[in-house]
Amino acid sequence: MRFLEKVGLGRTRSARDAKERLQLVLIHDRAGLSPGKLEALKDDLIHVISRHIEIDTDAVEITLTRERDSQRLVAQIPLAPMRRRRQPVR
Protein backbone atom coordinates (compact mmCIF):
# COMPACT_ATOMS: atom_id res chain seq x y z
CA MET A 1 0.00 0.00 0.00
CA ARG A 2 2.76 2.42 0.90
CA PHE A 3 4.50 1.53 -2.33
CA LEU A 4 1.31 2.18 -4.29
CA GLU A 5 0.96 5.57 -2.58
CA LYS A 6 4.47 6.47 -3.59
CA VAL A 7 3.98 5.75 -7.23
CA GLY A 8 0.74 7.69 -7.05
CA LEU A 9 -1.77 4.88 -7.47
CA GLY A 10 -3.20 4.53 -4.00
CA ARG A 11 -3.60 8.23 -3.35
CA THR A 12 -6.80 9.76 -2.20
CA ARG A 13 -6.84 12.55 -4.80
CA SER A 14 -9.66 14.12 -2.88
CA ALA A 15 -9.53 17.29 -4.96
CA ARG A 16 -11.33 15.43 -7.73
CA ASP A 17 -14.11 14.44 -5.34
CA ALA A 18 -14.28 18.03 -4.14
CA LYS A 19 -14.66 19.35 -7.67
CA GLU A 20 -17.37 16.87 -8.59
CA ARG A 21 -19.34 17.54 -5.42
CA LEU A 22 -18.91 21.27 -5.89
CA GLN A 23 -20.15 21.18 -9.47
CA LEU A 24 -23.20 19.20 -8.46
CA VAL A 25 -24.11 21.41 -5.53
CA LEU A 26 -23.65 24.55 -7.64
CA ILE A 27 -25.98 23.26 -10.34
CA HIS A 28 -28.69 22.98 -7.70
CA ASP A 29 -27.76 26.29 -6.03
CA ARG A 30 -27.81 28.22 -9.28
CA ALA A 31 -31.09 26.76 -10.43
CA GLY A 32 -32.61 27.31 -6.98
CA LEU A 33 -33.77 23.70 -7.12
CA SER A 34 -32.93 21.53 -4.14
CA PRO A 35 -32.79 17.74 -4.49
CA GLY A 36 -36.12 17.63 -2.59
CA LYS A 37 -37.84 19.99 -5.04
CA LEU A 38 -36.43 18.01 -7.93
CA GLU A 39 -38.04 14.89 -6.47
CA ALA A 40 -41.39 16.70 -6.25
CA LEU A 41 -41.00 17.82 -9.87
CA LYS A 42 -40.34 14.22 -10.84
CA ASP A 43 -43.53 13.04 -9.15
CA ASP A 44 -45.58 15.71 -10.92
CA LEU A 45 -44.01 14.84 -14.23
CA ILE A 46 -44.76 11.13 -13.80
CA HIS A 47 -48.33 11.97 -12.94
CA VAL A 48 -48.85 14.12 -16.04
CA ILE A 49 -47.14 11.81 -18.49
CA SER A 50 -48.90 8.74 -17.12
CA ARG A 51 -52.23 10.27 -18.15
CA HIS A 52 -51.16 9.93 -21.77
CA ILE A 53 -48.80 7.03 -21.96
CA GLU A 54 -47.82 4.10 -19.81
CA ILE A 55 -44.32 4.60 -18.39
CA ASP A 56 -41.96 2.65 -16.18
CA THR A 57 -42.36 4.94 -13.18
CA ASP A 58 -39.61 3.31 -11.10
CA ALA A 59 -37.03 3.94 -13.77
CA VAL A 60 -37.75 7.65 -14.34
CA GLU A 61 -34.69 9.80 -13.72
CA ILE A 62 -34.49 13.59 -13.62
CA THR A 63 -31.18 15.35 -13.35
CA LEU A 64 -29.77 18.84 -13.70
CA THR A 65 -26.69 18.87 -15.89
CA ARG A 66 -24.18 21.50 -16.84
CA GLU A 67 -22.71 22.15 -20.24
CA ARG A 68 -20.23 24.98 -20.40
CA ASP A 69 -22.48 28.00 -19.87
CA SER A 70 -25.90 26.44 -19.86
CA GLN A 71 -27.71 24.20 -17.47
CA ARG A 72 -30.23 21.65 -18.53
CA LEU A 73 -32.97 19.64 -16.94
CA VAL A 74 -32.74 16.13 -18.34
CA ALA A 75 -35.51 13.57 -17.93
CA GLN A 76 -35.10 9.90 -18.73
CA ILE A 77 -38.58 8.45 -19.06
CA PRO A 78 -38.63 4.82 -20.15
CA LEU A 79 -41.94 3.50 -21.42
CA ALA A 80 -43.53 0.51 -19.78
CA PRO A 81 -42.78 -2.79 -21.54
CA MET A 82 -45.34 -2.98 -24.33
CA ARG A 83 -47.06 -5.83 -26.03
CA ARG A 84 -47.64 -5.35 -29.71
CA ARG A 85 -51.25 -4.49 -30.14
CA ARG A 86 -53.23 -6.08 -32.90
CA GLN A 87 -54.68 -3.34 -34.99
CA PRO A 88 -58.08 -4.32 -36.27
CA VAL A 89 -58.14 -4.00 -40.04
CA ARG A 90 -61.17 -2.40 -41.39
Binding site: T12, S14, A15, A18, L22, L26, D29
Partner: protein, 268 residues
Amino acid sequence: MNGQVVTITSGKGGVGKTTATANLGVAFASQDQRVVCLDADIGLRNLDVVMGLENRIVYDFVDVVEGRCKLRQAMIRDKRLDNLFLIPAAQTRDKTAVSPQDMVRLTDDLRADFDWILVDSPAGIERGFRNAIAPADIVLIITNPEISAVRDADRIIGLIEAEEKGPGKLVINRVKPEMVRRGDMLGTEDILDVLAIELVGIVPEDESVTVATNQGVPVAMNASSKAGKAFHNIARRLNGEEVPFESLGGQDGFFGKLTRLIRAGGEG
Protein backbone atom coordinates in the same frame (compact mmCIF):
# COMPACT_ATOMS: atom_id res chain seq x y z
CA MET B 1 -7.98 62.45 -8.02
CA ASN B 2 -10.83 60.16 -8.91
CA GLY B 3 -10.44 57.18 -6.66
CA GLN B 4 -11.86 53.75 -7.27
CA VAL B 5 -13.84 51.87 -4.67
CA VAL B 6 -12.83 48.23 -4.28
CA THR B 7 -15.04 46.12 -2.03
CA ILE B 8 -13.43 43.00 -0.58
CA THR B 9 -15.98 40.30 0.13
CA SER B 10 -16.42 36.51 0.28
CA GLY B 11 -19.72 35.30 1.66
CA LYS B 12 -18.06 32.81 3.95
CA GLY B 13 -16.27 34.09 7.02
CA GLY B 14 -12.66 33.42 7.85
CA VAL B 15 -11.29 33.22 4.32
CA GLY B 16 -9.06 36.27 4.70
CA LYS B 17 -11.06 39.38 3.72
CA THR B 18 -9.63 41.59 6.43
CA THR B 19 -6.08 40.33 5.88
CA ALA B 20 -6.47 40.96 2.16
CA THR B 21 -7.83 44.48 2.74
CA ALA B 22 -4.96 45.43 5.06
CA ASN B 23 -2.33 44.00 2.76
CA LEU B 24 -3.72 45.52 -0.41
CA GLY B 25 -3.77 48.83 1.43
CA VAL B 26 -0.09 48.40 2.28
CA ALA B 27 0.72 47.27 -1.26
CA PHE B 28 -1.00 50.23 -2.95
CA ALA B 29 0.51 52.70 -0.49
CA SER B 30 4.01 51.37 -1.04
CA GLN B 31 3.44 51.77 -4.79
CA ASP B 32 2.89 55.50 -4.17
CA GLN B 33 -0.88 55.41 -4.37
CA ARG B 34 -3.05 57.14 -1.81
CA VAL B 35 -5.29 54.59 -0.18
CA VAL B 36 -7.88 54.47 2.57
CA CYS B 37 -9.16 51.22 4.10
CA LEU B 38 -12.73 51.38 5.36
CA ASP B 39 -13.91 48.74 7.82
CA ALA B 40 -17.56 48.08 6.95
CA ASP B 41 -17.93 45.25 9.45
CA ILE B 42 -19.88 47.34 11.95
CA GLY B 43 -20.01 45.73 15.40
CA LEU B 44 -17.16 43.32 14.65
CA ARG B 45 -14.28 45.71 14.17
CA ASN B 46 -11.05 43.98 13.18
CA LEU B 47 -9.26 45.79 10.39
CA ASP B 48 -7.73 48.08 13.03
CA VAL B 49 -5.92 45.24 14.82
CA VAL B 50 -4.81 43.55 11.60
CA MET B 51 -3.29 46.88 10.50
CA GLY B 52 -1.86 47.49 13.99
CA LEU B 53 -3.72 50.80 14.43
CA GLU B 54 -6.11 49.81 17.23
CA ASN B 55 -4.57 52.17 19.78
CA ARG B 56 -5.16 55.27 17.74
CA ILE B 57 -8.92 55.18 17.24
CA VAL B 58 -10.83 58.25 18.35
CA TYR B 59 -13.82 58.33 16.03
CA ASP B 60 -15.34 55.60 13.88
CA PHE B 61 -17.37 55.30 10.70
CA VAL B 62 -20.74 55.47 12.47
CA ASP B 63 -19.65 58.72 14.14
CA VAL B 64 -19.15 60.12 10.64
CA VAL B 65 -22.47 58.79 9.35
CA GLU B 66 -24.32 60.27 12.31
CA GLY B 67 -22.53 63.60 12.06
CA ARG B 68 -20.54 63.53 15.32
CA CYS B 69 -17.31 64.16 13.48
CA LYS B 70 -15.95 65.05 10.06
CA LEU B 71 -14.81 62.31 7.72
CA ARG B 72 -11.21 63.53 8.02
CA GLN B 73 -11.31 63.25 11.81
CA ALA B 74 -12.15 59.54 11.65
CA MET B 75 -9.22 58.81 9.34
CA ILE B 76 -6.15 57.32 11.01
CA ARG B 77 -2.90 57.83 9.19
CA ASP B 78 -0.50 54.89 9.22
CA LYS B 79 2.82 56.27 10.44
CA ARG B 80 4.77 53.57 8.62
CA LEU B 81 3.38 54.45 5.19
CA ASP B 82 2.50 58.05 4.41
CA ASN B 83 -0.22 57.24 1.91
CA LEU B 84 -2.15 54.71 3.99
CA PHE B 85 -5.26 55.54 6.05
CA LEU B 86 -7.87 53.62 8.01
CA ILE B 87 -11.46 54.47 8.86
CA PRO B 88 -12.42 52.03 11.61
CA ALA B 89 -15.83 50.41 12.10
CA ALA B 90 -17.92 51.12 15.18
CA GLN B 91 -17.66 48.38 17.74
CA THR B 92 -20.77 49.03 19.77
CA ARG B 93 -23.35 49.41 17.02
CA ASP B 94 -24.77 47.14 14.34
CA LYS B 95 -25.12 47.14 10.57
CA THR B 96 -28.43 49.02 10.65
CA ALA B 97 -26.57 52.16 11.74
CA VAL B 98 -25.41 52.56 8.14
CA SER B 99 -27.39 52.50 4.88
CA PRO B 100 -26.19 51.77 1.34
CA GLN B 101 -26.82 55.46 0.55
CA ASP B 102 -24.52 56.51 3.42
CA MET B 103 -21.82 54.28 1.97
CA VAL B 104 -22.17 55.83 -1.49
CA ARG B 105 -22.20 59.38 -0.13
CA LEU B 106 -19.15 58.98 2.08
CA THR B 107 -17.04 57.05 -0.39
CA ASP B 108 -17.88 59.69 -3.01
CA ASP B 109 -16.30 62.26 -0.66
CA LEU B 110 -13.20 60.08 -0.38
CA ARG B 111 -12.78 59.66 -4.14
CA ALA B 112 -11.49 63.20 -4.43
CA ASP B 113 -8.56 62.57 -2.10
CA PHE B 114 -7.59 58.98 -2.76
CA ASP B 115 -6.58 56.67 -5.58
CA TRP B 116 -8.11 53.67 -3.86
CA ILE B 117 -10.88 53.22 -1.31
CA LEU B 118 -10.80 49.65 -0.01
CA VAL B 119 -13.99 48.50 1.71
CA ASP B 120 -13.69 45.47 4.00
CA SER B 121 -17.08 43.74 3.85
CA PRO B 122 -18.55 41.66 6.66
CA ALA B 123 -19.19 37.95 6.03
CA GLY B 124 -22.69 36.93 5.05
CA ILE B 125 -25.12 38.24 2.45
CA GLU B 126 -27.27 40.52 4.60
CA ARG B 127 -27.38 44.24 5.26
CA GLY B 128 -23.67 44.65 5.99
CA PHE B 129 -22.72 43.00 2.72
CA ARG B 130 -25.23 45.11 0.81
CA ASN B 131 -23.81 48.25 2.40
CA ALA B 132 -20.30 47.21 1.45
CA ILE B 133 -21.02 46.57 -2.22
CA ALA B 134 -23.25 49.62 -2.74
CA PRO B 135 -20.37 52.00 -3.62
CA ALA B 136 -18.13 49.43 -5.35
CA ASP B 137 -16.50 50.00 -8.72
CA ILE B 138 -14.72 46.66 -8.39
CA VAL B 139 -15.80 43.74 -6.23
CA LEU B 140 -12.95 41.53 -5.12
CA ILE B 141 -14.11 38.08 -4.09
CA ILE B 142 -11.82 36.21 -1.73
CA THR B 143 -12.09 32.45 -1.58
CA ASN B 144 -10.13 29.46 -0.28
CA PRO B 145 -9.57 26.18 -2.12
CA GLU B 146 -12.38 24.51 -0.20
CA ILE B 147 -15.85 23.45 -1.29
CA SER B 148 -17.64 25.63 1.25
CA ALA B 149 -15.72 28.79 0.38
CA VAL B 150 -16.04 28.30 -3.39
CA ARG B 151 -19.75 27.58 -3.08
CA ASP B 152 -20.24 30.81 -1.14
CA ALA B 153 -18.13 32.69 -3.69
CA ASP B 154 -20.50 31.44 -6.39
CA ARG B 155 -23.47 32.76 -4.43
CA ILE B 156 -21.77 36.12 -4.00
CA ILE B 157 -21.04 36.32 -7.73
CA GLY B 158 -24.75 35.77 -8.37
CA LEU B 159 -25.72 38.49 -5.88
CA ILE B 160 -23.31 41.11 -7.19
CA GLU B 161 -24.45 40.42 -10.74
CA ALA B 162 -28.02 41.00 -9.62
CA GLU B 163 -26.89 44.37 -8.22
CA GLU B 164 -25.07 45.11 -11.48
CA LYS B 165 -21.75 45.20 -9.68
CA GLY B 166 -20.52 42.04 -11.33
CA PRO B 167 -18.89 39.91 -12.35
CA GLY B 168 -16.17 40.69 -9.83
CA LYS B 169 -12.58 39.57 -9.64
CA LEU B 170 -11.31 36.54 -7.79
CA VAL B 171 -8.53 36.07 -5.25
CA ILE B 172 -7.74 32.52 -4.15
CA ASN B 173 -6.26 32.72 -0.69
CA ARG B 174 -4.44 30.17 1.48
CA VAL B 175 -3.41 27.80 -1.30
CA LYS B 176 -1.11 24.95 -0.28
CA PRO B 177 0.84 24.17 -3.47
CA GLU B 178 2.05 20.83 -2.16
CA MET B 179 -1.50 19.61 -1.52
CA VAL B 180 -2.64 20.85 -4.92
CA ARG B 181 0.25 19.01 -6.53
CA ARG B 182 -0.65 15.71 -4.95
CA GLY B 183 -4.31 16.13 -5.87
CA ASP B 184 -5.70 16.75 -2.41
CA MET B 185 -6.63 20.41 -2.79
CA LEU B 186 -8.67 22.21 -5.43
CA GLY B 187 -6.28 23.97 -7.78
CA THR B 188 -6.57 27.30 -9.55
CA GLU B 189 -7.85 25.66 -12.73
CA ASP B 190 -10.52 23.71 -10.85
CA ILE B 191 -11.84 26.82 -9.14
CA LEU B 192 -11.79 28.98 -12.28
CA ASP B 193 -13.50 26.21 -14.19
CA VAL B 194 -16.36 26.24 -11.73
CA LEU B 195 -16.69 29.98 -11.03
CA ALA B 196 -15.74 31.30 -14.48
CA ILE B 197 -14.63 34.80 -13.40
CA GLU B 198 -11.44 36.76 -13.78
CA LEU B 199 -8.58 35.78 -11.47
CA VAL B 200 -6.47 38.60 -10.00
CA GLY B 201 -4.48 36.77 -7.39
CA ILE B 202 -3.31 33.53 -5.84
CA VAL B 203 -2.02 33.82 -2.30
CA PRO B 204 -0.14 30.86 -0.83
CA GLU B 205 -0.69 29.69 2.72
CA ASP B 206 2.10 31.37 4.64
CA GLU B 207 2.84 31.21 8.35
CA SER B 208 4.28 34.68 8.23
CA VAL B 209 0.70 36.00 7.84
CA THR B 210 -0.09 34.75 11.34
CA VAL B 211 3.13 36.21 12.72
CA ALA B 212 2.42 39.51 10.97
CA THR B 213 -1.13 39.65 12.30
CA ASN B 214 0.12 38.87 15.81
CA GLN B 215 2.39 41.88 15.59
CA GLY B 216 0.03 44.24 13.83
CA VAL B 217 2.37 44.58 10.86
CA PRO B 218 0.64 43.51 7.63
CA VAL B 219 2.68 40.84 5.86
CA ALA B 220 2.96 42.98 2.72
CA MET B 221 5.29 45.27 4.68
CA ASN B 222 7.73 42.37 4.67
CA ALA B 223 9.06 42.21 1.14
CA SER B 224 10.43 38.69 1.44
CA SER B 225 7.28 36.81 2.41
CA LYS B 226 5.45 34.80 -0.26
CA ALA B 227 2.01 35.98 0.77
CA GLY B 228 3.22 39.57 0.93
CA LYS B 229 4.54 39.35 -2.62
CA ALA B 230 1.27 37.88 -3.79
CA PHE B 231 -0.63 40.88 -2.35
CA HIS B 232 1.76 43.31 -4.02
CA ASN B 233 1.09 41.53 -7.32
CA ILE B 234 -2.67 41.79 -6.86
CA ALA B 235 -2.34 45.53 -6.29
CA ARG B 236 -0.28 45.86 -9.46
CA ARG B 237 -2.81 43.85 -11.47
CA LEU B 238 -5.67 46.01 -10.18
CA ASN B 239 -3.60 48.98 -11.25
CA GLY B 240 -3.59 47.68 -14.81
CA GLU B 241 -0.15 46.12 -14.88
CA GLU B 242 0.34 42.73 -16.50
CA VAL B 243 1.91 40.58 -13.85
CA PRO B 244 2.34 36.86 -14.55
CA PHE B 245 0.75 34.54 -12.02
CA GLU B 246 2.94 32.74 -9.53
CA SER B 247 3.14 29.12 -10.64
CA LEU B 248 2.14 27.52 -7.38
CA GLY B 249 -1.14 25.91 -8.22
CA GLY B 250 0.04 24.32 -11.47
CA GLN B 251 -1.45 20.85 -11.39
CA ASP B 252 -0.30 19.45 -14.65
CA GLY B 253 2.53 21.74 -15.58
CA PHE B 254 5.87 20.27 -16.48
CA PHE B 255 7.33 21.42 -13.23
CA GLY B 256 4.62 19.81 -11.16
CA LYS B 257 5.06 16.50 -12.93
CA LEU B 258 8.80 16.69 -12.54
CA THR B 259 8.48 17.37 -8.83
CA ARG B 260 6.13 14.43 -8.50
CA LEU B 261 8.51 12.12 -10.29
CA ILE B 262 11.45 13.21 -8.20
CA ARG B 263 9.42 12.89 -5.05
CA ALA B 264 8.20 9.41 -5.94
CA GLY B 265 11.73 8.27 -6.74
CA GLY B 266 13.53 10.13 -4.01
CA GLU B 267 11.41 8.92 -1.11
CA GLY B 268 11.32 5.29 -2.25
